[in-house]
């Protein structure tokens, strides 16, 4: 059986790629959203949400230990049987494309609101789709390597922004802690949990890792490292704007817009915007890559590449059609994305693990040998 992906990426590359995938949206759009829900306690919701999302790498680690060398959809077919496995995988693929379309829409709405006011949404998403499709065609190794360039710049830039603003921070804005108790914080932390749970994508690149025994380690690091960026941005935006205004802004890019240091470090936000878009570029390309890889594996194609442009076009079109306006988008992310995301992110691997345990498949089960999936045609 031909492998649909021949690339290999290192442990570090995988971790960094997942970190970018998480922070591209959760560093940009998540802090204001959570602050609008729980005010100055948003940083706590971020921590709790991330802690909850750690369940995903734990599940993936357990799955990988039982079925080494298989991706999620291959495991699904193995443990659930051909038809149920493929059906569930199809839902998973739809979820990937759907989430990717939402990310594209967030990006495009941001761009048309803040940078290219008169450019139609379709033009922005269309051009982005072409670019990410090219990256997805080039494969996982190339995505991982381009990310190795983009992520360090993103991280350094975001931390520099926070540092340059530190003189304007009012730490007292973080008080009072727990003004309205734990309940709203726990409720709100569902949203960051769903954002951080996107670590599920690791499940599709497990076979491409050089060290397949390090899944858990990669997943945990990739979940926790983004906090180094997200927490300064979340707490920083509250300290900078106050909880009320920090919950009104649409993205953390409003922070570099207020930088004023020594009368000449001003108006620097063009750089952060470009860098954050580069991060989103990697994220969207990675989602697209995973979506078409999963499609190829489920439908038994020998190559995923021909799918790239068509799925990218579909994603782009879907991103326009999904939401009539920004308010709908925000409403979706605030109310529905948490349960929707978590259902797939935790439910899918959990179901597979339970099925694997129940049927005693994989290593440590009764029927040892791993079976390669994707032979149906």
């Amino acid at each position: 059986m031909k492998l649909v992906e021949g690339g290999r990426i290192s442990e570090r590359q995988a971790t960094l790629l997942l970190v970018t995938t998480l922070i591209a949206t959760s560093g940009m759009f998540l802090p204001p959203l959570i602050t609008s829900l729980v005010g100055q306690d948003s940083w706590m919701a971020m921590c709790i949400g991330t802690a909850a999302a750690l369940a995903v790498p734990v599940l993936l680690g357990a799955l990988a230990a039982r079925h080494p060398g298989l991706s999620l959809v291959q495991i699904a077919e193995l443990v659930l049987g051909k038809v149920p496995g493929k059906t569930l995988s199809a839902f998973f693929i739809f979820w990937l494309i759907h989430v990717n379309a939402i990310v594209v829409r967030e990006m495009a709405d941001y761009v048309t609101t803040n940078v290219l006011e008169e450019t139609p949404l379709q033009v922005v998403t269309g051009l982005f789709a072409v670019n990410v499709a090219i990256l997805a065609v080039l494969g996982l190794e190339v995505i991982a390597r381009s990310n190795e360039v983009i992520l360090p710049i993103t991280a350094v830039m975001l931390l520099t922004v926070t540092a340059l603003l530190a003189k304007d921070f009012h730490p007292e804005h973080l008080a009072p802690v727990l003004e309205h108790g734990w309940r709203p914080i726990l409720q709100a932390s569902v949203v960051p949990a769903a954002f951080q749970g996107e670590i599920l994508l690791l499940g599709m690149i497990m076979p491409a890792l050089e060290r397949r025994d390090r899944i858990l380690r990669i997943g945990l690091w990739a979940c926790l490292l983004p906090l180094l960026i997200i927490l300064p941005l979340t707490a920083g935006s509250v300290m900078l704007f106050g909880p009320e205004e920090a919950g009104r802004i649409t993205s953390t890019v409003e922070m570099p817009r207020t930088i004023q240091v020594a009368e000449f470090v001003e108006r620097v936000e063009a750089l952060p915007i470009a860098i954050l878009l580069a991060g989103l570029f990697v994220k969207i390309a990675f989602f697209l890559y995973v979506a078409i890889l999963a499609t190829a594996q489920v439908s038994g194609l020998s190559d995923y590449r021909p799918l790239a442009f068509s799925v990218a076009a579909a994603t782009s079109a879907l991103s326009i059609g999904l939401f009539g306006d920004v308010v709908e988008l925000l409403h979706f992310i605030e109310r529905l994305w948490g349960p929707y995301g978590l259902t797939v992110e935790i439910g899918f691997p959990l179901l597979l693990l339970l099925a694997s345990l129940a049927r005693g498949l994989g290593k440590g089960g009764r029927r040892g040998a791993p079976v390669k999936g994707g032979e149906a045609g």
């Binding site: 704007f241 205004e245 009368e263």
Partner: protein, 466 residues
């Protein structure tokens, strides 16, 4: 593959090349292309209630780059030129509309270049608009992507339009003049100037009211007298300034200090043609003066702070300045001594005593002797200690002046006692916030000041005259 099927790879090659070329279209961003020579940069914005009382007027001061090019270079020559040809380096346009946005866009009707707000540095709001509520202005500025949160929003005594008509002598543009004044006011410490980021934070925070800057016009002849505290520039009739007076009342007219020049609503244009001799006219050319502060309740202007009250405000808010403190020393307290602030640090605390809030403000002040008017020998032992005691007293008095204005008089929590209370006692705050308006004026504030004088300047004993 390579040589055999020559046709197919070349088609693919062409397709790829075409794709790459198509991608360059995306790089240029043609759709929203903005060339700098097609833009009109607004530097200062004045927002007023129109004289009909229903609409809004927006006055934009647009930089004229051609004129600025000469003025920006050499310090002396450039400024003199700009000063001489006052009014030529900027272009004033006014637009009217039912909303601020409509008024703002209507400016475009007379501008050949696209009106751009991204470089606005100063926004002046007319007094009348502020009395009716400044929230619409903040909302407009907040929602538009162009206006940054680093803009300074400041309240005019009288209409904002008149302020924009002022032609500063030292700088070619009002915005630049403002920028300098704002920067160097710390050497005086008499003005509260905040960015819209801080102002929105004040407005939105629970238990915190809004305080903005205060700007007015003065003729070039009029010299602000700093030592002469308290200055008589208080808002007339502070006790009636509770925000319920009818907006029709033409408040700007009764403003004494800002008068003189073209500060009337329609007076600006009318005054120009008046039969005054040109030399007299030049001497009377109004300058802007930024001192004091404006106090809001919710979003409505309820009164002003004068210089001294503002200095107290800055002290309470721990806003650094290196301005003077004047004390009267000697036996009959006849000798005036000026102290220069070098550094101070304020700590504030709000406590609950038997369920009643009480505030504590502790200032640690350091400074130098800047001036001793009279035979006051600083080198005598104990003299500095006496000065320190007097300084502490003067600082306390300044803060008391601020408190009596904002707390007792205007009853607006601009110092954020409620916000501090909320942070320290969130549960009690939930109970107290309902009638905070009633509780706040009665909150006792304990002030402790420790002043330390470090240096006495470049000489020691005062000058002897014999």
């Amino acid at each position: 593959m390579r040589a055999g099927a020559a046709g197919r790879p070349s088609i693919r090659l062409l397709a790829r090349a075409g794709l790459l070329l198509a991608l360059t279209l995306a790089v240029s961003g043609c759709w929203d292309r903005r060339e700098i020579e097609t833009l009109a940069f607004v530097m200062t914005l004045g927002i007023d209630r129109a004289s009909d009382g229903r609409n809004y007027t927006v006055t934009a001061s647009i930089a004229l780059p051609r004129q600025l090019r000469g003025g920006g270079g050499e310090g002396g020559g450039g400024t003199a030129q700009a000063g001489g040809g006052a009014g030529t380096s900027r272009w004033l346009v006014t637009g009217t509309g039912e909303t601020i946005f409509e008024a703002w866009r209507s400016i475009q009707e007379s501008s050949s270049r696209r009106i751009t707000g991204a470089h606005v540095q100063l926004i002046v709001i007319g007094e009348e608009l502020c009395r009716q509520g400044v929230a619409p202005v903040e909302e407009f500025l907040d929602r538009d992507r162009d206006f940054r949160r680093t803009i300074n929003l400041i309240v005019a005594e009288g209409p904002a339009q008149a302020i924009l008509e002022a032609t500063p002598q030292l700088e070619p543009l009002l915005a630049l003049s403002f920028r300098g004044i704002k920067k160097w006011n710390r050497t005086v410490g008499t003005a509260w100037i905040a960015t819209t980021r801080v102002e929105r934070d004040m407005m939105a925070s629970e238990g915190q009211e809004l305080a903005c800057g205060r700007i007015r016009l003065t003729s070039a002849k009029e010299v602000p007298r700093l030592a002469d505290f308290p200055t008589p520039d208080e808002f007339p009739g502070g006790e009636e300034a509770r925000g319920q007076q009818p907006p029709e009342e033409d408040r700007p007219r009764e403003q004494k200090p800002g008068s003189g020049g073209p500060s009337g609503a329609a007076g600006g244009q009318a005054k120009v043609g008046a039969a005054t001799p040109p030399a007299e006219e030049a001497r009377k050319k109004p300058e802007i003066l930024i001192a004091g502060g404006s106090v809001f309740k919710r979003d409505r202007l309820v009164g002003w702070m004068n210089r001294r009250e503002t200095r107290g405000f800055l002290l309470i808010q721990n806003q650094p300045f290196i301005g003077p403190i004047v004390v009267r020393a000697g036996k009959d307290r006849r000798i005036r001594v000026s102290l220069e602030t070098t550094h101070f640090r304020t700590r504030r605390r709000v406590l609950l005593r038997n369920g009643r809030p009480a505030a504590e403000v502790e200032v640690r002040w350091q400074g130098n002797v800047a001036e001793a008017m009279g035979n006051f020998n600083l080198t005598d032992t104990g003299k500095l200690a006496e000065l320190e005691r007097l300084t502490a007293e003067a600082i306390r008095d300044d803060m008391r002046a601020c408190l009596s204005r904002v707390q007792k008089d205007l009853k607006s929590d601009v110092i954020g006692i409620g916000a501090s209370l909320r942070r320290a006692y969130p549960q009690e705050w939930q109970r107290l916030k309902q009638d905070w308006d009633r509780v706040y004026p009665e909150v006792p504030v304990t002030i402790r000041v420790r002043a330390k004088l470090r240096r006495v300047g470049v000489v020691t004993r005062p000058l002897k005259m014999e």
